[in-house]
Symmetry: C2
Subunit: 399 residues, 2 copies
């Protein structure tokens, strides 16, 4: 860090290389590390010793079969990461370790009208409870990922106006949570985190370019470009909900007319069914009814799918991702909504862009965002936090 092109930076890079290799593979013998990283066996030997002394890595004295291979793995308590996700109606928290394992996960209902301070208090309590339950060491927290359902200003970390959590507008949730927990907190909006979650644990594994479409009370998209979340210079990339489908369509809350949201989001779609199906309908209920065969709900969901498909088609023409993952409650509808989406994409996207596209339902359901928050904490940590000695007390100074 201090000296960008020096040997110590090289050494550091090699440390990270080894840590990353071990993380990706779960556990490796030193010889395997040497092969996959391209480093020499001697170097690996030194590095492993250093990491072991520092406590970031564990060496299980002998592996199962073989001659005398010692398998190296990230020590379970080398560091933990926490994901916190504020949704429309509930708060979710997950705790994971550096090996991408989820140790504990819990959600609880959240009062929509609560203030940011109250919400964050609740989050802090839930985090503490989970830490206690899993028995991990608070000092080992490497970072926290935080998801909020609204636009975050990249520079300042300020939450923009959000219809979902009205009491939160203008707050800086990352800073406040950081103050409460005393560890680095990284925020992002729920669509981006959903994308990250599905990318790392769900339907997006193995893909480099992905769009995660979340349909809930609004419609948003999280874009992953070349394996990284793309937020745009202003932090508002992915606003697929407000692309114009019909210039003379219904007026949208954003002030324009005929936005995708006015055809697909819960707050615009549910009223269509209220006269026939009662007023306290939720999207979840509509999906359930549709699966049970209710023709009205089926029709509405298919129409929503078609409109989303139009939006996705535009997205494909512009970005050409290799996969689109549908999240939110609507994803539960399965083919009832995916079929119309695919049909619409096939009709409106140029063939070469649509050809290698796969449209899949999210594999994580409502967990996508929390897990994405975990993934955010992991990725922001950047393999190097481990080495700073901030977590583990050892590592005798190589200034």
């Amino acid at each position: 860090m201090e000296t960008p092109g020096s040997q110590s930076s090289l050494h550091r890079a090699n440390l990270e290389r080894v840590v990353r290799a071990v993380r990706l593979a779960g556990s490796l013998t030193q010889a395997e590390i040497a092969r996959t990283t391209g480093l020499s066996a001697a170097t690996v030997s030194n590095i492993v010793r250093e990491l072991k002394d520092g406590g970031t890595v564990e060496v299980t004295p002998t592996s199962a079969g073989g001659r005398r291979a010692r398998s190296v793995s990230l020590s379970g308590d080398a560091g933990i990461v926490i994901g916190v996700d504020f949704g429309h109606t509930h708060l979710r928290v997950a705790i994971g370790n550096l090996a991408h394992q989820v140790l504990a996960e819990e959600s609880e209902p959240l009062d929509v009208d609560a203030s940011a301070a109250q919400g964050l208090d609740r989050a802090e309590q839930l985090v503490s409870r989970l830490i206690l339950a899993t028995g991990v060491d608070r000092a080992k927290i490497a970072g926290v990922g935080l998801g909020v359902p609204g636009p975050i200003d990249v520079e300042s970390g300020t939450l923009g106006s959000t219809a979902i959590l009205p009491g939160w507008t203008g707050t800086k949730p990352a800073e406040e949570l950081r103050a409460r927990l005393g560890v680095p907190v990284h925020v992002d909006n729920d669509a981006n985190l959903g994308a990250l979650g599905e990318l790392v644990w769900g339907s997006g594994r193995g893909v480099k370019d992905l769009a995660y479409i979340k349909v809930a009370s609004g419609v948003g998209a999280g874009l992953v470009i070349s394996g990284r979340i793309y937020r745009g210079p202003g932090g508002t990339a992915g606003e697929i909900g407000h692309i114009t489908l019909d210039e003379s369509g219904p007026v949208c809350r954003c002030g324009n007319r005929g936005c995708l949201e006015t055809f697909a989001a819960a707050r615009y779609v549910l009223p269509l069914l209220q006269s026939s199906h009662g007023t306290d309908l939720t999207m979840e209920a509509v999906v359930r009814l549709a699966r049970d065969g209710d023709p009205g709900c089926r029709r509405v969901i298919a129409d929503v799918g078609r409109h989303i498909g139009s939006g996705v088609a535009n997205l494909c023409n512009l970005l050409n991702p290799s996969r689109v993952v549908l999240g939110g409650d609507l994803a539960e509808a399965g083919e009832l909504v995916l079929g119309p989406i695919r049909e619409s994409v096939g009709r409106y996207a140029i063939p070469s862009a649509a050809r290698q596209l796969s449209v899949l339902p999210g594999a994580l359901g409502g967990r996508a965002e929390v897990l994405g928050a975990l993934a955010l904490a992991l990725s922001e940590m950047g393999d190097s936090t481990l080495l700073d000695g901030t977590l583990s007390a050892a590592t005798p100074a190589f200034t």
Copy 2:
């Protein structure tokens, strides 16, 4: 390269660091290099000597004022790059050096119906002529960037079907030009190269995320994301011409209806004016007439602008670039087209995405693509080709 984490790779990285610093700044003294790269003065001294011996860098013995500063700059003959651009009606070639200077540039008309082989022959001749004219050494060619007006398959380098150069479909222009010139050739389509050109030399300087909209016989966009061209996994990102504006609009050549292209591209727009302005109208003429006050042409151009603005609004909602640059003939219309674009963007994009957006005309006109091809060659070269000894005969082997 061979040894990913070794000292020699570190050394190489430092060489590249220095080369890049010099390239970006034009010329620097050693002390300045040390400051900008973070390397120590001693290291810089060694590296500069090595580069000087290798011929990649020139040291002008004494700078103008000051004590005894020796300014370091890339040696003019360290390497040259060539840009070749096939347009709808002409072929352009440019020669530049590593210092981002354009040494020579020339264009000549091209027969639309010519075969790929004929076109490439012409290109080869023109390149040879320019090499002769500038007196550079053929052996110093570090790379060639090639622009073609059609979709390129990323994997194979095959040119997809293009309405502009019908004789070229299915050829692999990069390979063929490589065979003719004997140096690495990198292809891309004209919109991407236009984006790159404007990014490096034109209206996009200093910006990291940019969309270049090219309106000609079709409508395409080149996307620059985080400073790099974004092509998408399938290589067809940026097809803004085929996003749907009106589901029941005119049938487009792509098979869909109401694509942006059907409202904005020359082949669809010019017929509107043929009854009143004659049949052999070109976009260029329309723009000229509009500037001279012709109300019909003004109206058509404004309409085109409005439609482009709708497309750009969608693009902004999805990608949120900080700048949109308009290229192609249409850009010559200036405010006549930019005004309606901005108005449309303001109307259809969500405010937070539109707020920090600037919409500018391209600064390079028809040269954007060739210059982009130069830039492509430069960027693909990746600062390291210089060090391989393939160009300059010196550099006494470090394995």
